[in-house]
Symmetry: C2
């Protein structure tokens, strides 16, 4: 094995070397992401528009395009020290198995009980809610990673946490639910009888197993109708990318210590929280003309918002209660095929990443899930970590790029984000192990029908 | 919070500082553990007695009382670098919540996909099997941690891995099974039709859900009847404690770097693999008169081998096919109450630990599972790690000792072993969250009935 004694398997920053500020990539973008718009008026959202739903400080972060570095409050840094820095791992064993001259690194965010990077933003959002004197927060969860992360964060700060969990997940993933309960969260299957919107949907569709869009609507309704309560969201929003920039900040600091310059940086992309966080400081260098990198967003072929969506204002949620965002979108009514196993099911993409992609600063690639699980299993067997299906999208493309290097003989340096572990996704692994996993790619007709439902917004065709 | 800037939350050794040898505590014991005995003759086991069942080099390690340091082969050290060093964590948040002057540290072994420390010995045993030119190994698994660890190790070295999984676990823990399959292991519910002993038990008890003893017997039968195959075991044996000494070696190196001297070292104890591994180098200092420590073994009140067992030769397995070992035992027919949720269900205890306990060099404490899960939940909420039920036995006593310090005002340094994560134990957490967990302590009559079945061994009453 080509073990380089100068570069350990795992690079850990010392606690004293951990980043003390988040990096706001919008500060370095010449063309800023388009503003959120009020769905009722079509006008850009103001602070006051958003106040009934979101925490004050988080709205400020959402609307702030200009401050490059946002200091991380001490209390959040203290929590970060509990599970961070996360390791930057040199994939020596994977490299050897592939026989590639490429050097592969991954930033592993799964070593915490939420099992993913989501905790980085959950603790920040819970902190600002606590600072504002709120009593609690609401949210929705599909696969369950965000709900788990938020439960952990709220438990730490003594906040009430109410999670609306898509009913089919609630029933199929009782263990995820139980982790949230262990952290003191209340978990309600959605749709529920506890909200107007839930009762309405149950009356219309008595047997429904729920959807993320419906769970969002229930969480927002509960937040605005409960005194001292706000709604929080785990991806898509610019504030979330800001908090997740801790991933990229640490990655860059670790690489810099060893004088390593990546050629390609790869991340899976659903709403964009992990990818945006990972690439932000590197993208900043590119935007400022200080360095050049290739960035690759990897999305499921069954939910291909960047590679096959349109760049337009759309609803962030199926219930159409949240602001409009300009983004690459498949239409807010789009739901990926039921056979899609991993997460990354969001119909749109972070406005920041959408704008960067639109400007040609980032590439995107869609991959089919059977090839994703092949990569997941290959990775698990040599690197000793059972990856989350979401993360395995990035693994797939990292392996593809490393094999390309094998053909060309180039010793490129590839960095990818390993967002989490697959311990709660074993139903999908079982399907794969049993040879029963299939792929589904939406047809052009399906997408066109979904695009036809995009909202009318001033200046948008 | 009393955050001491000189001592980070997590102490990681550098890869260059990782131990290069296992430490064999038997070398420093004046009174050695009693030898294994042949169940047929009652005579001490020879190398040749054990050869049909175990790998050659592992038998040598089992029988070796004298070599203090056993170099860790390069291939094993390479694998260790994939998931080790494990962090030694300062439990700042737990200390704050308890309001104790005590300083609490834990050595966390759960950051690998097997979810526990078991991988430390699994990779060693797989390596020696590979070195011997064997094709594969068999084993049994109950809760599933050992089976998962062995699957990962065998996958790495390209060995066949056949796991007999106690049938009720096989059915109740499909996710554990699926991880093993993902690592290429064959997993058979036990009792099965694939062995003589399995068929015999199924004929006698058609509806049986299996037991660890039966699974061991099936695994041993399969090993001795399959060319190029041997049986491996994840606890109890002295070779396993040797491999697990990596835990203690790392812990000691990390503490030494910061000049920290523990007062109390605590570990959960089932067969003894984690506790033995954690305390070995510290016990060595105590045996050599170089330092003094309190050691506390924590066991379930429902399976109290040290605190209520007898010190005698007994069968290691219910099927009575393995050698006899002198140990604290509840009798090989003893099965803990069905309401017992965590692992640590073994009827006996490592001969090394039994001898150390018998000599008064170590204490033992039995705790009830409802108090164990209370500690688990308290720990999870402030330290951010959902602990395995087994590990939570150690947490319970660490908290109890820290609270005692609060009463006395002593700032003792407590180190405990956090053996793993509870991601596959959420059925038990659910029972606890729902208030349906109960305790069961065996009666003296039950234990006496079990002791009456101890084997007749020369020199034993």
């Amino acid at each position: 094995m080509k073990y380089d004694h100068d570069i350990p398997y795992k690079i850990y920053l010392k606690e004293s070397e951990m980043p003390t500020a988040w990096y706001n990539v919008r500060a370095d973008m010449k063309q800023k992401p388009a503003p959120l718009r009020n769905p009722a008026t079509g006008a850009p959202c103001t602070f006051e528009d958003l106040r009934p739903v979101f925490c004050d400080e988080l709205i400020r972060q959402e609307l702030d395009n200009d401050d490059r570095l946002i200091p991380i409050p001490d209390e959040i840094r203290q929590f970060y020290r509990m599970y961070r820095p996360s390791p930057l791992v040199r994939a020596y064993c994977l490299e050897e198995q592939l026989g590639t001259p490429a050097k592969i690194y991954y930033k592993f965010e799964g070593n915490n009980t939420s099992g993913s990077h989501k905790l980085n933003s959950a603790i920040a959002q819970a902190y600002y809610a606590k600072q504002q004197g709120l009593k609690g927060v609401t949210t929705e969860t599909g696969a369950g990673q965000w709900g788990t992360a938020l439960s952990m964060a709220c438990s730490y700060f003594g906040l009430d946490c109410k999670v609306f969990m898509v009913k089919c997940s609630y029933e199929q993933k009782p263990f995820r639910r139980e982790v949230m309960r262990t952290y003191g969260a209340s978990v309600t299957p959605s749709p529920s009888e506890t909200t107007q919107v839930g009762r309405k949907i149950l009356a219309a569709h008595p047997g429904t197993t729920g959807s993320l869009g419906c769970a969002i609507s229930e969480a927002v309704e509960t937040a605005v109708s409960t005194p001292g309560c706000r709604y929080v969201l785990g991806s898509v929003l610019s504030q979330v990318l800001l908090h997740q920039s801790i991933i990229g900040q640490e990655t860059k600091a670790a690489l810099d210590q060893y004088g390593i310059k990546p050629d390609i940086i790869i991340g899976c992309a659903g709403g964009g929280s992990n990818l945006g966080g990972l690439i932000s400081p590197f993208m900043g260098e590119k935007l400022r003309g200080e360095a050049d990198y290739r960035f690759i967003a990897v999305e499921p072929a069954s939910c291909p918002s960047l590679t096959r969506g349109v760049f337009a204002y759309d609803f962030c949620d199926t219930g159409h209660v949240c602001p409009l965002a300009k983004m690459y979108t498949l239409g807010s009514e789009f739901i990926p095929s039921a056979n899609h196993a991993g997460g990354l099911r969001y119909h749109g993409m972070s406005s920041i990443l959408s704008e960067l992609y639109h400007q040609g600063l980032m590439e995107a690639r869609a991959v089919e899930q059977t090839r994703v699980f092949e990569a997941a299993e290959q990775f698990a067997r040599v690197e000793g970590i059972l990856p989350a299906p979401e993360s395995s999208h990035a693994i797939r493309v990292a392996i593809d790029e490393a094999l390309r290097c094998k053909e060309t003989g180039e010793a490129k340096t590839i960095v990818f984000g390993l967002t989490g572990t697959g311990y709660f996704d074993l139903v999908a692994y079982q399907k794969f192990n049993d040879g029963q996993m299939t792929d589904h790619i939406p047809t052009d007709e399906e997408l066109q029908a979904s695009f036809a439902l995009l909202p009318k917004v001033p200046g948008q065709k």
